[in-house]
């Protein structure tokens, strides 16, 4: 394996979140009864003509600006000609020689923490095809043209990725970006975000790329990873056993985790692209780009950098918390509600809880951050009780779970269940005395040098107090007591 270098390029198809289709007035909503969202234009009736939906252009330009790409002052729609029942016109309206978005780039973070730039060759507008339904109809296939004419932005990368992991990181980054920009809902199950992967291998140091295979229609990050891994192994095995990789289109079988041939280069269609005479070239009007630029939100990289800088978070934490606009907003709301002492915020505490407990619960219940059962304000109310030492972090987790299930505020739960932390030294000391008296053997062993028994005493005291003893105070007091000294009151931290 290590003799081989893997070369991957991705073509990502992102469905643009316009309300109507790219060339007709039909709605784009997912899941309607077959053919109820297809008008005469979508059905390619004789005589009908496409009319471009300007909202799709706005979205494409937004994407182009976000990846720092050149926006073409003039782009042209072309027809890609081939016959298929889910393609009613017998051609797909796409862009070929003059796409709307030119060269740009994004960065991904590799496992070792280093940053890698991945080039985007172009992004162009096109229409989606319908769907063929091969099940449930005897001796025939059905066609659902609801999806036909849904706007797509096809984002083509440079062959810059060198592993399946990099490919996934790139795809995730684009996924994050299109959702930030609110140009695509990113729903991969519904096919709103999917990709084709071009994969080849070459010996390390080789100048020329190997022959590539294109794996079609991958609609999950996991499938992308698995399909590429399988394909890489397949190609290496072919070459190492003296064979040659053939240029072809392959399909990924997600049940068997393998790719299989769909059609070879020889069988490939000649698409006979030519400019669509029914549509005028898209001329970028003066001021339009600036107008779109003004609508750009803070982008993921910018947000992550700001989180790292302003909240003193690690690059990793900042990256996780900026992975979606909603998560970033939630985190910031927690920090803001929690307030800050001069010169310091409790951002790290908030970050740990959002990435830890909260994300865990959301995952468990399969919820989005926007559907969280605990609001940012409620979480801040809980964290405030850790900060002011009303409860320990451990107790806080218990409170958090109750909040999640009952929806009650943190203070009410703490009050109801008497979870308030014991910070009275006298009270803690008397518990310590009881424990020491009840465990003479352990006390003797400790005093003869078995330091490890310290934990045993901590555990016993916590057990006896129901976990409510202030941990820092307990540590101080216990150390002194076990050493045989008279405890001075430990200050609160």
């Amino acid at each position: 394996m290590s003799n081989w270098e893997v070369v991957i390029g991705l073509e990502i198809h992102a469905q643009l979140a316009t309300r109507s289709k790219i060339f007709s007035g039909s709605p784009t909503a997912y899941g309607a009864a077959p053919n109820t969202q297809a008008d005469l234009v979508d059905l390619a009736y004789p005589g009908v003509l496409p009319v471009f939906n300007g909202e799709a252009l706005r979205m494409a330009v937004k994407f182009g600006l976000a990846i720092d790409a050149q926006i073409a002052p003039r782009s042209v729609f072309a027809r890609k000609n081939y016959f298929y029942p889910d393609l009613p016109k017998g051609y797909q309206i796409s862009q070929y020689e003059q796409p709307v978005v030119g060269k740009g780039a994004i960065t991904i973070v590799l496992d070792d923490g280093s940053v890698k730039r991945i080039g985007v060759t172009r992004a162009h507008l096109e229409e989606d095809a319908g769907k063929s339904l091969h099940e449930g109809i005897a001796n025939a296939s059905g066609i659902d043209l609801n999806r036909a004419g849904t706007p797509l932005l096809e984002i083509v990368s440079e062959p810059d990725m060198r592993s399946a992991k990099e490919a996934v990181a790139y795809m995730k980054k684009i996924h994050t970006l299109v959702r930030y920009l609110e140009i695509c809902d990113g729903n991969m199950q519904e096919g709103s975000f999917r990709c084709d992967a071009n994969v080849s291998v070459r010996r390390h140091g080789a100048e020329k790329f190997g022959t590539r295979a294109e794996i079609k229609n991958l609609n999950s990050f996991r499938f992308v990873e698995k399909a590429i891994q399988y394909e890489v192994a397949r190609q290496i095995e072919i070459i190492e056993s003296g064979g040659k990789v053939v240029q072809e289109t392959r399909l990924y079988d997600s049940d068997k985790h393998e790719t299989r041939s769909m059609r070879s280069k020889e069988e490939a269609n000649d698409y006979r692209y030519f400019p669509d005479p029914d549509l005028l070239p898209l001329e970028m009007e003066a001021g339009f780009i600036a107008e779109v630029r003004a609508t750009l939100p803070e982008l993921p990289d910018e947000k992550a950098a700001r989180f790292a800088r302003d909240f003193a978070l690690s690059g990793y934490d900042a990256g996780v918390l900026s992975a979606s606009r909603e998560l970033g907003a939630y985190f910031e709301a927690v920090v803001a509600a929690l307030g800050s002492a001069p010169g310091q915020t409790h951002a790290k505490l908030a970050a740990n809880w959002v990435m830890g407990e909260l994300s865990g619960m959301l995952n468990r219940d399969n919820l989005e951050i926007t559907d969280s059962r605990i609001s940012a304000r409620a979480l801040a109310d809980l964290l405030r009780r850790i900060v002011d030492t009303t409860i320990s972090g451990k107790i806080a987790k218990e409170v958090f779970e109750s909040m999640w299930t009952d929806g009650k505020p943190a203070d009410a739960i703490i009050e109801e269940r008497g979870l308030k932390q014991i910070t009275d030294s006298g009270a803690i000391e008397s518990v310590i005395d009881e424990i020491m008296a009840a465990n003479p053997k352990q006390l003797a062993d400790y005093r003869s040098g078995k330091d490890k028994l310290f934990g045993f005493f901590v555990g016993q005291v916590m057990k006896a107090t129901g976990g409510k003893a202030n941990p820092a105070q307990l540590n101080e007091l216990l150390k002194t007591k076990l050493a045989g000294g008279q405890a001075a009151s430990a200050p609160l931290s």
Binding site: L40, L43, A44, Y45, P46, G47, V48, L49, P50, V51, F52, R79, N81, F83, P85, P88, K89, G90, Y91, I143, D270, R272, Y273, F274, P277, D278, L279, L280
Partner: protein, 484 residues
């Protein structure tokens, strides 16, 4: 007789309530019934709808409403989608196709109160210059029924010439209005590309197709064009420019109008045809116009250029006819490929297949640059030459066709000779320019057309020149024998 009256005269009589639209409609329906069997110009007659529409028009007239076309009958070329009425495009492929909507042209005329009598025969998918490629059989020229009427709007032209309707609609991709108008002795107008909506007009070659009118005179055509023209948000290539009041502009003086004689249009033109064109220009100069000779060196390349561009677009435009959603579907397809191959193989005629194959070839990998791209470059050169010519002159003039109508069957085995029929008309389509053909005499009893071409959106000037010419001549009032 009613069918001798101009649209203006008919509208006056309708307005004066001396005539009802129902009477007028019955008159033309009767003519269709009597005369169409010898011509095959009309392939669908919608008598019942027509009488109902006429009654509605009469009600509007009775209520005091007036309109240049209110209550006037017409026949649409069968390329325009007509809601609830078969729209065949002259093809077996759409023989069973009932359009579920109206083309914009149809809708506009309908709301102006025009009464549709039926649908006119045409070359299959508008591909032809003789109306012999129609699935419904050839149309005969009323001037000599052994001759073709021209094409592709051959049914519309023959119907207008035989007065089966006061006017008809047509489409012109390479001369399909002007050439049949010339061969049948009527006035045909092909507007500027983008002047009239293409929505609902079944596409042949989208960058060239333009709807227009075939009528008894330039004045009638002006009244119709005023209603047909205008921006349509459903057609991205239609142009958002105000529509002039064409009828009101017909009487502008020709004094000082500069007309360019296209030298290339007289090369090889039959001497008797050439003489008629020179005579027509003499009439125009007598009305105050000046003529100068103009040369467009690349114009002779318009036919080969057209026969790359038009088939390329048609090969793609006709892909939707696949037997899946509407139209002809073969019997018992055994799989998808069989469904495609037989539905298209059986549904399309020979000329359509020839053009689909030509178009597919010129767009193919390895040939695209040599054919399609080169043709686009020549197209631009021709357009530029026209533009330069219009810096010097107001209008260009020449013959519409190289010869008068030819015998049915004479050119069907020789596509190249057939294609050369459009040698004088194609240039205007390539450059998107408006053109008019007006009758200017006869050779051996067959009509000859004078063609005028103007700069973009110069329809008013073209119609004005043709109208002044028609005030000074009576070629356009001649009737073919048997159709008086």
């Amino acid at each position: 007789m009613l069918h001798d009256l101009s649209i203006g005269a008919l509208a006056d009589r309708l307005a004066a309530r001396e005539l009802s639209s129902v009477e007028l409609t019955r008159h033309f329906l009767a003519r269709i019934e009597r005369l169409n069997p010898g011509l095959n110009a009309v392939i669908t007659v919608t008598a019942e709808n027509a009488l109902a529409d006429a009654a509605r028009a009469d009600a509007r007239l009775a209520a005091g409403e007036r309109g240049a076309l209110l209550g006037i009958p017409l026949i649409h070329k069968d390329i325009f989608c007509t809601d609830g009425v078969r729209t065949s495009c002259g093809s077996r492929m759409l023989d069973n196709f009932i359009a579920p909507y109206d083309a914009t042209v149809v809708a506009k005329l309908k709301s102006a109160g025009v009464v549709m009598l039926g649908k006119a025969n045409m070359d299959e998918f508008a591909m032809g210059s003789s109306n012999e490629t129609s699935f419904y059989g050839p149309v005969r020229n009323p001037w000599d029924t052994t001759k073709v009427p021209g094409g592709s709007s051959g049914g519309s032209a023959a119907a207008s010439a035989a007065r089966l309707a006061p006017f008809t609609t047509g489409t012109d991709t390479g001369g399909s209005i002007r050439q049949p108008a010339a061969l049948t002795g009527i006035t045909g107008v092909k507007p500027t590309y983008g002047r009239v909506s293409r929505y609902g007009m079944i596409a042949f070659a989208s960058s060239l197709d333009q709807a227009g009118v075939l009528a008894q005179s330039a004045a009638d055509a002006a009244a119709v064009l005023k209603v047909m023209a205008g921006f349509d948000p459903k057609d991205s290539t239609s142009v958002d420019a105000p529509v002039p009041d064409y009828p009101a502009l017909l009487n502008a003086s020709l004094k000082g109008l500069k007309i360019g004689l296209l030298r290339e249009f007289f090369d090889g033109l039959e001497p008797r045809n050439a003489q008629l064109i020179r005579d027509a220009l003499a009439v125009l100069t007598s009305l105050g116009a000046e003529t100068v000779e103009v040369s467009l060196p690349h114009l002779p390349m318009s036919v080969p250029t057209y026969y790359v561009v038009a088939p390329a677009e048609c090969s793609s435009n006709l892909s939707r006819f696949d037997g899946v959603r509407y139209g002809y579907r073969c019997e018992n397809p055994k799989d998808l490929t069989d469904l495609y191959e037989r539905s298209r193989g059986e549904g399309f005629g020979a000329e359509v297949k020839r053009r689909i194959m030509t178009g597919t070839y010129v767009l193919s990998a390895g040939y695209f640059d040599a054919y399609y791209l080169k043709a686009q470059r020549v197209r631009r050169l021709i357009t530029d030459e026209f533009r330069a010519a219009f810096d010097q002159v107001d209008l260009l003039a020449g013959p519409t066709t190289p010869t008068p109508a030819f015998p049915i069957g004479a050119k069907m085995d020789d596509p190249v000779t057939m294609y050369l029929n459009d040698i004088y008309t194609i240039g205007a389509n390539l450059a998107g320019l408006p053109g008019v053909s007006a009758p200017c005499g006869f050779v051996d009893g067959l009509p000859v057309g004078l063609q005028l071409i103007g700069p973009h959106f110069a329809e008013a000037k073209l119609l004005g020149a043709a109208h002044q010419f028609q005030l000074a001549t009576d070629w356009h009032t001649q009737r073919p024998r048997g159709y008086e």
